[in-house]
Amino acid sequence: MKKLLALVLCLLMVVPFAATAEDVTITLWTYPIGSWANESTVNEIIANFNAVHPEIKVNVQYLDYQSGDDQVTSAIEAKTTPDIIFEGPERLVANWGANGKMLDISDLWTEETAADIAAASPTMLATCTGADGKVYLYPLCMTTHCMVIDQAAFEAAGAMQYVNLETRTWTNEQFAKACEALVNAGYAIPGIVYCGGQGGDQGTRALAYNLYNATFTNDAKTEYTMNSEAGVKSLQQLVDWVNDGLLVSDPGIVAGDAIALFCNGTTQMSFCWNAALLETNKQTLADGVKPLAMAFPSEDGVPVLDGGVWGFGLFNNGDEAKVAAAKEFIKFVCDDAVQGPKSAYATGYFPVKASFGDIYTGTEKEGNADYAVFSPYFGGIYQTAPNWTVQRTEWWNLLQRIFAGGDVATEANVYAANVNVK
């Protein structure tokens, strides 16, 4: 018994308690944004930072999209939130910012940096600003989400004639013909409209609203509008294509699975794709699959693409010294003339600053430069609209219902009623 007690006491002393802050130690939580999910990449960035600011220690925690939100929710409730978090406006501005958990960091948007960012993307400041007028996000990179096709299969099926290689665009008619050609050539499942969860839902959203130029929200981003005439028509088109066997709907998988199926050659297109995904999926590509990024089809062939913006926000932890240190970190990572482009390069996306220029040509990620062709189609960020979290769940539920045979107009109205309350 005494031995047991002694053992317990020893163990009690060994177990590490929460680190007590000695110097300025700040915590950074990062979602897996490109290579920011890799410890080695992030360590290198921090080492560069410490060369300039040796007095500031940075602790990193890597989040994932499966459980990261639960973890942040818990941290908010337990008041153990990190100092800095790296993600997009749909979480930082629309969720945590709107709930008053984040700090206004408008002082990072100096005249100089704001002008630099505006030169690349005029609407960026608005995207990073909450409904209360406070700025919750300082962006590092952005991208447009697109889709991807297997060029080799398209060539084999004689479907490349429907693709505008120059602009990477196509019309609905061309898209349908391409799918038909694939099916006739023996590719049984050209593409899958996945709706098993919220993973990669930007792909199905953009696919749906592009078809007949619907908009996902109204211009003021206060209301979801996929129950409009154009929205219903677009959704109906998707259902028709599925019924005609040109596409397959699948409520059992999410974007990650759909991408895996594209990479192993089961399908010839994936509706979820972007510059960074090219990099992360390189290794699993089956022999002979040749990914070619494409815009989503639309009636007139002029797409409006969803975008993603990623940047840093500060949680309101009430420690001035840490806030100051955290701001130093953000400034270094995003604004430093040498580090800034490197930080953006690590994400695989495009820098939000015009002055950084083309960061991919002539590098290992040469292929990413290719994605600049989509920048003109960027339709702005609507993911900061109210009730966004509810909307994400309702969206894949809507798709599940219409593909299970529900009436499109009715179901779209149910969806709109559920997401536009409060």
């Binding site: 929710t73 958990k101 499942i189 098993g196 409520p251 998988i253 979290t389 599940q400 299970a404």
Partner: protein, 316 residues
């Protein structure tokens, strides 16, 4: 003389009380501090409109909301009960069946099978679900692969007509079809929950009084008679224990759904536990989640009470 006895009895009782509480103290402190207290808090917050930014008293509104929420009443509640009603008897009967076969084997056989059926428990739900997700995959999954080959084989030898082709087409979307998704979830739940009951039944069966069995066999009783008349009553306490544990586990089936279907397709795998998780952690609607948790706890308690009652009347 009498006086001293009563005095010593009093002292004795006091001693028992003090000793009892001293023994209880460590577990009681942990139990009250980290189970009962948060449970009370949960009950308390279920009467509040409680979100990340809000905390206002709302009476029974959360409870009323739960019973008016069609996802809760029409899907979560029903699916949960289906899972319990299917998995509890199946787990009990299957593990009993396995146990009756393996307990007679040699030492190695028994240990081997016991281990095999315990494997999914020790491997952990995250790892096991990753594999099952692939097994059920519509396009590259092994189940469809086997079905397709089997279908082809059956057709080749003329055992199957062409009309049955859809079943064996190899295009069955197991987790994506509302008709089969819940079945798949239950199937995986079964593999992860028979381990302990089998271990328990094997030992319970080995402890059954053998002289009774021999006597019955001499009398010419059939296998079935020996089992139901002699063995079954003796392993009844084990059965009760398994029933209660399996019921609680089935009610709390959560990780599988979180990792595989997120409650879909079209809410066909929505359960109370997942819906609570969704409201608390995704919607940050703590008050509503707490209210549903209280409802679930009451339901589980009722089920357990019924099982205890039934078992008692059976025994008594």
């Amino acid at each position: 003389m009498q006086k001293t006895v009563s005095l010593s009895m009093k002292a004795e009782r006091r001693r028992e009380n003090i000793a009892g509480y001293l023994y209880m103290a460590p577990s009681l402190i942990f139990f009250l501090g980290f189970v009962i207290f948060p449970m009370g808090m949960c009950l308390f917050t279920s009467f509040f409109d409680y979100t990340m930014t809000d905390f206002t008293f709302s009476g029974f509104q959360n409870y009323a909301r739960a019973f008016n929420d069609s996802i809760f009443t029409n899907h979560a509640l029903i699916n949960t009960i289906v899972i319990v009603l299917v998995s509890v008897p199946v787990v009990c009967l299957f593990s009993l069946w396995v146990a009756t076969i393996i307990y007679k084997m040699r030492d190695f056989g028994t240990s081997f099978y016991r281990c095999v059926f315990y494997l999914p428990v020790v491997t952990g739900s995250v790892a096991v679900t990753v594999v099952w997700k692939w097994i059920f995959n519509n396009y590259t999954g092994v189940l469809n692969f086997i079905m397709k080959n089997m279908g082809g084989m059956l057709q080749d030898i003329g055992l199957m007509e062409k009309t049955m082709g859809t079943v064996f087409s190899g295009n069955w979307n197991w987790l994506g079809n509302p008709a089969t998704a819940l079945g798949c979830i239950i199937m995986i739940l079964l593999t992860t929950s028979v381990g302990q009951p089998i271990v328990l039944y094997v030992s319970a069966l080995s402890n059954v009084n053998h002289s009774l069995i021999e006597a019955a066999e001499v009398d010419g009783a059939t296998n079935m008679q020996v089992f139901w008349r002699i063995k079954w009553p003796q392993i009844m306490p084990t059965t009760l224990y398994i029933l209660v544990i399996t019921t609680i586990n089935s009610f709390q089936c959560f990780a599988l759904i979180q990792l595989l279907t997120s409650g879909g397709p079209v809410n066909s795998t929505q359960t109370i536990m997942y819906y609570i998780y969704y409201n608390v952690f995704k919607m940050q609607d703590y008050g509503y989640g707490s209210a549903m948790g209280v409802i679930l706890a009451v339901i589980i308690a009722l089920f357990s009470a019924i099982q205890f009652k039934l078992a008692k009347t059976d025994n008594g």
